[in-house]
């Protein structure tokens, strides 16, 4: 098989690939593109995600969205309705279970059965492939707002076919962001190809007049990811998607906890994505932004969890993100009850509503953070392009091999795992060890100095113990993992 390169799959080639994909599970047979397009046209405009996001962009809203998914459709409808009505969620997800994410549809079937039998969800999400197109449509029809598929599936071709035909108008993930943090042995060659398929499918809908939004998964491993790392990935995935005909993209990252750095992250993400997309010749793309409330370990105490949630909501509002993905007071313990999920949403909504008319002085500190992110992203992406000899697909593959792209704490064996992040003395996330990231000495010194400053303050060397302390910190009530006395 040819190595994947960043070219738009010709429609005929694409259509030739479809039967095999759809044969992956019996429910695939039901998918019919023409009929699906018609179905989308028949849906009210309010149920289309692109429509809702455009509106938010225009009005400067920050929309709230939960994570939520259970094994059975009736329960899913009840859950989503509750989150919309009681939780005041602006847009809704359907989170897919972990078996489906691994294409283990047989295990998912077992999970469905066990869930029916035990009368509680034995799956951590909704196995949309097993349920099939009609069941998805039944869900879509019963909910008043647009739905997005959220998953973490390296090979989501069949999932995309079924859920898009099922009426979903937004699909999360990407070849890097749903591989490196979500898999151990899946090669980037494979995911790059599989996501070209997904993006091409979205492009097909788009070309035929149905707006579908795509959202790379910004947070990656969710834990102390320096903004330039997640930005580089998000922009690469945006470029790859754009090539296949995707027109609407939500790009995001997760809260790190230092407000200035977090605001700088959202600001630059939009700015840089637009810059790269247009300089690469994709000029009619609409970008919205997504801010994830803290994605690492949460405090077990619910009151403290509310604090983390609210602080994330405040940052989202101040950064002007188009959407905020909401955590719940049960986060550290397990998949939330619908009530706990609604509580996270309500707390977020209250803060967003109270902040939406407010803005801050933006001065030197913010400028400096933005400038650092811009430089770091530029240096990473120019090396990626260079090593790929102008091809972004090859660039991604070779960059991960060489550690030019390197995601902290990721389980994938295709990730070199040399980069170590840690917080500086103000809680901003820096590179403690930048591994093989292609940074110049100015950037390296900046990070080294920042961490030396903290080391001095704490009277210890910056080391892996510091990283561990930072991983635990928010769960233990702090932002920075100070040494224990």
């Amino acid at each position: 098989m040819k190595k994947p390169t960043n070219y738009k799959i010709p429609e005929d080639d694409f259509l030739a690939m479809r039967p095999e994909v759809l044969a992956g599970w019996p429910t695939g047979q039901r998918v019919d593109l023409a009929e699906a397009l018609e179905y989308h046209s028949s849906l009210a405009a309010e149920k289309n995600m692109v429509n809702r996001l455009q509106q938010a962009l225009k009005k400067g809203e920050t929309l709230t969205q939960p994570r939520a998914g259970v094994a059975l459709p009736e329960e899913l409808k009840e859950l989503l309705t509750f989150l919309h009505q009681e939780g005041e969620a602006d847009v809704l997800p359907t989170t897919i279970d972990s078996y489906t994410r691994q294409n283990q549809y047989r295990e998912a079937d077992r999970g469905i059965e066990e869930s029916r039998h035990e009368e509680r969800s034995m799956l951590n999400g909704f196995p949309a492939v097993n349920h099939g197109v009609e069941v998805c449509r039944d869900v879509i029809e019963s909910i008043e707002v647009p739905l997005q598929v959220r998953h973490g599936t390296p090979d989501s071709r069949l999932l995309a076919e079924i859920t898009l035909a099922g009426g979903f108008s937004d699909f999360e993930g990407g070849p890097i962001s749903y591989n490196i943090p979500y898999a151990k042995k899946v090669s980037l060659e494979k995911t790059l190809r599989d996501w070209q398929y997904v993006d091409r499918l979205v492009g097909l809908y788009q070309e035929r007049g149905i707006d579908i939004n795509r959202e790379p998964f910004g947070p990656l491993t969710g834990t102390l990811i320096p903004p330039s790392t997640s930005h580089a990935v998000a922009i690469l995935e945006a470029l790859l998607a754009a090539e296949q005909g995707v027109k609407y993209l939500s790009l995001g990252c997760s809260q790190n906890g230092n407000m200035v750095q977090d605001i700088a992250a959202i600001d630059t993400l939009e700015e840089l994505a637009e810059k790269y997309l247009s300089s690469e010749g994709y000029s009619d793309i609409t970008i919205s932004t997504v801010f994830h409330q803290w994605m690492g370990g949460f405090p077990q105490d619910e009151a403290k969890a509310y604090a983390v949630i609210s602080w994330g909501a405040a940052t989202a509002a101040l950064s002007g993100a188009t959407k905020v993905i909401v955590k719940t007071p049960h986060e550290a313990m397990g998949i939330p009850t619908k009530e706990a999920n609604a509580d996270g949403l309500k707390a977020t909504k209250q803060v967003v509503n109270m902040m939406k008319e407010q803005s801050f002085d933006q001065g030197e500190k913010l400028d400096r953070e933005k400038q650092m992110i811009r430089q770091e992203v530029a240096q990473i992406l120019s090396r990626v392009k260079e090593i790929g000899e102008g091809d972004w697909c090859q660039g991604v593959i070779r960059s991960f091999e060489a550690g030019i792209l390197d995601i902290p704490f990721a389980p994938s064996r295709y990730n070199s795992g040399r980069v170590l992040p840690a917080r500086d003395n103000n809680g901003a996330v820096r590179y403690l060890d930048s591994g093989e990231l292609p940074f110049d000495s100015e950037i390296m010194e900046f990070h080294d100095n920042k961490l030396a400053e903290r080391g001095e303050f704490e009277e210890r060397e910056a080391s892996f113990q510091m990283v561990i302390d930072d991983i635990y910190a928010i769960g233990k009530g702090m932002l920075i993992g100070r040494p224990r006395e």
Binding site: S98, R101, L123, P181, Y182, H330, G334, P336, F409, I471
Partner: protein
């Protein structure tokens, strides 16, 4: 357990679970405690745990499950150990073992009934389990000594 040998623990994250961070920290903590850590990483099957334990002559298996499918994934590991002839190996399990926020006592019993020696709730500090391990190993040796002195 060989008296002079450094104890060995096979650790990993079971099932289709990719939560890698706690696993990396556990490995580091075991290392620091002078315990040989054989980390088979995330997304490991029961078979992989057992094979690694047999291969390394491990004293214990530490199974992590974070993503909520622990109840389905962890069932049957003890049987597989027995089949593989490592009947008495210590089996510890920890993480967010079930779906949702449930009373810990019930969850613990569920896993002890499955044949695990110890089960740990979310947020357990590695040191706690390491202390338990040393204690369990001493007890195991003492009871073996008793057995051998009866021979």
């Amino acid at each position: 357990m060989n008296q002079n040998r450094v104890p060995t623990v096979v650790l990993g994250v079971i099932g289709a679970d990719v939560h890698a961070i706690g696993n990396q920290i556990l490995e580091y903590a075991l290392d620091e405690a002078g315990i040989e850590a054989v980390n088979i990483g995330v997304m490991s099957s029961q078979q992989e745990f057992v094979e690694a334990a047999v291969e390394t002559g491990a004293d214990a298996i530490w199974v992590s499950s974070l993503y909520g499918h622990g109840e389905m994934d962890c069932r049957g590991l003890r049987d597989k150990c027995v089949e593989a002839g490592i009947t008495d190996i210590l089996l510890y399990v920890g993480g967010n073992l079930v779906i949702g926020k449930r009373s810990w006592e019930g969850v613990k019993d569920l896993f002890l009934d499955m044949g695990y020696d110890r089960a740990y709730p979310p947020g357990t500090r590695p040191q706690e389990a390491i202390d338990d391990l040393w204690q369990d190993l001493v007890e195991q040796r003492e009871s073996k000594d008793v057995v051998s002195s009866l021979d």
